[in-house]
């Protein structure tokens, strides 16, 4: 470097001369698009780990519980068991992908402090929020599409109410992408995020009616199921796929809207104020 420095460094580094400090800020390409792209590039570089592994994991549940054991389990409300479990497994895969992607990308960026590169840029607070969240949205969507295609092909499950499924998917992606960002902002260690995934999201998913209808549970447990937010996610997806669930479509989507709105508001507050992001 030293030989070059003396000759042409300034010309190379400031090719157009000094920037006019009074010129308005103009983007040739939106910084938000760059941040979105960066987040998608990050998980696509790890596609075996971020896409294939979770799809394979959910597929195993469908094969083992649906195909291998499903013939020995009675239909649930007229729905073959192998088809009954598909909606819950799809929504679980989607929400886990969205959450884990964003919690890890934000925590890693905080931990290594390269998030400063974004926070010191001209990106607006809401652009940073959207940009960091988009990776989880896209990863969750790709995971869901792959599982949907495979689930339909393997079990023959249909999509009875595509609009409900579409709305529920969008709301789940928003809610858990934002939850992941929030967890990444609050986390002090990788253990914290593993704790949330293993001891909060996973148990709530399995207790949310993925493998059973809650009306078969004892009354007390049925009540407990109704305070589990993931129960409503599973119901919304089940209504979308097989056209029926344990609660009404309106209630399931209402809970999803409330969840997505609440988590989005929390996330917006964190980015707008810089709480925990900036000392």
């Amino acid at each position: 470097m030293s030989g070059r420095v003396a000759d042409d460094t300034a010309a190379a580094v400031l090719p157009g001369g000094l920037r006019d400090p009074d010129a308005p800020f103009v983007e040739d390409r939106r910084g938000l698009l760059w941040l979105c792209e960066r987040e998608i590039v990050r998980f696509m570089k790890l596609w075996m780990q971020t896409l294939i592994a979770p799809v394979m994991s959910s597929l195993l549940f469908i094969v083992v519980f649906g195909l291998a054991l499903g013939d020995n389990i009675a239909d649930v409300d007229g729905v073959p068991y192998k088809q009954f479990i598909v909606p819950g497994l799809v929504v679980q895969a989607i929400l886990t992908a969205a959450y884990s992607n964003n919690s890890s990308t934000v925590f890693q960026a905080r931990s290594d402090r390269f998030i400063n590169d974004v926070l010191s840029s001209p990106l607006r607070w809401w652009e940073v929020n959207i940009g960091l969240a988009i990776g989880g949205v896209v990863r969750g969507l790709l995971t869901g599409i792959l599982l949907l295609v495979l689930g339909v092909a393997i079990t023959g499950v249909g999509v009875e109410q595509p609009l409900v499924l579409l709305v529920a998917t969008v709301l789940v992606l928003i809610a858990f992408a934002q939850l992941g960002v929030i967890a990444g902002i609050y986390a002090k260690s990788w253990d914290f995020m593993a704790f949330v995934t293993s001891l909060v999201i996973l148990p709530l998913s399995f207790l949310g009616g993925i493998f059973y209808s809650v009306d078969r549970l004892p009354a007390a447990w049925e009540v407990v199921s109704h305070v589990n937010p993931i129960f409503y996610l599973v119901q919304a997806f089940r209504i979308g796929f097989v056209g029926q669930g344990d609660v009404s479509t309106g209630l399931a989507l209402l809970v999803l809207v409330a969840l997505a709105a609440g988590l989005s508001a929390w996330c917006a507050w964190l980015f707008r104020t810089g709480h925990r992001l900036k000392p």
Partner: protein
């Protein structure tokens, strides 16, 4: 070169559009959660085109001040302007480049991508960003490592990449927070020469360093900071005369000891 009194009085910087200050800080205070006040009512002006050194012990408030300028620390009180723009305005942020003290490079991206995405966050178009990344990788001899991730680079190469990243969006104010900490003599010399050239091209440079000879060799003006306050500010010659010292190391020791003897406590 720059008189402390004349550049920090109320007639310059904030409130006076006629004077062109690259950086103008008024009454900046930062109290962290838990009550620790790192900086208390600091005033500072750095003229456009200056090469300005900020010296002080660990915990003096240098990095807190830099963090606030770069929108990474929330000020408790005070005003900070960059070329007349509020420091948190987009117009201000695109004018500032920061090479932080710690290596903070995106581990998921390659060297080339680190540069390109940084430029992108500042609104640069793809073709321009690619061209500029190629230029800077050439200048910093990183071209052969373009596809390599930062984690696979040597310490010196990572430091060069930090420099290159800070320059990607063509900042007019470049802040270097201990840029030569832990680098070998050869690279330090190269970085010195590089920053000199940038300054000659008109870039305003704010440098913090623990290497006093570095500040003396590079900076037109030096401020000493202790306990979150500027305790002295002048050219290297002016400081030596003021403190009757042979070199900046002597100035530094006398200034710090004098400030402590005057009863000015360092926040604990």
């Amino acid at each position: 070169m720059f008189d402390h009194a004349s550049t920090s009085d109320s007639g310059s910087g904030i409130g006076s559009p006629a004077a062109r200050q690259a950086l103008s800080v008024r009454g900046f205070t930062k109290t962290y959660e838990g009550g620790f006040t790192a900086v208390d009512g600091l005033d500072l002006d750095v003229p456009d085109g200056a090469f300005f050194g900020l010296l002080g012990p660990n915990g003096a408030g240098k990095t807190t001040l830099i963090g606030a300028i770069c929108n990474l620390v929330r000020p408790t009180a005070g005003e900070i302007e960059v070329f007349g723009h509020r420091h948190d305005a987009r117009e201000a942020r695109r004018l500032v480049g920061l090479a932080e003290q710690d290596i903070n490079l995106d581990r998921f991206l390659s060297v080339q991508e680190v540069l390109i995405y940084h430029a992108g966050f500042f609104g640069m178009g793809r073709a321009h960003a690619r061209r500029r990344a190629a230029e800077l990788m050439d200048v910093f001899e990183l071209a052969s490592k373009a596809k390599v991730r930062p984690t696979a680079l040597s310490g010196g190469m990572r430091r060069r990449l930090l420099f290159a990243r800070a320059m990607m969006h063509e900042p007019r104010l470049l802040i270097l927070d201990e840029p030569t900490a832990g680098v070998d003599v050869e690279l330090r010399s190269e970085l010195w020469e590089y920053t000199r050239r940038l300054h000659e091209a008109g870039t305003t440079i704010v440098l913090t360093t623990h290497y006093l000879e570095e500040a003396e060799a590079l900076c037109e003006e030096i401020a000493l900071i202790r306990g979150g306050r500027i305790i002295a500010r002048d050219t290297a010659d002016g400081l030596r005369a003021q403190y009757d010292a042979d070199d900046i190391a002597g100035v530094y020791l006398k200034a710090m000891q004098g400030d402590a003897a005057a009863g000015n406590a360092v926040p604990a």
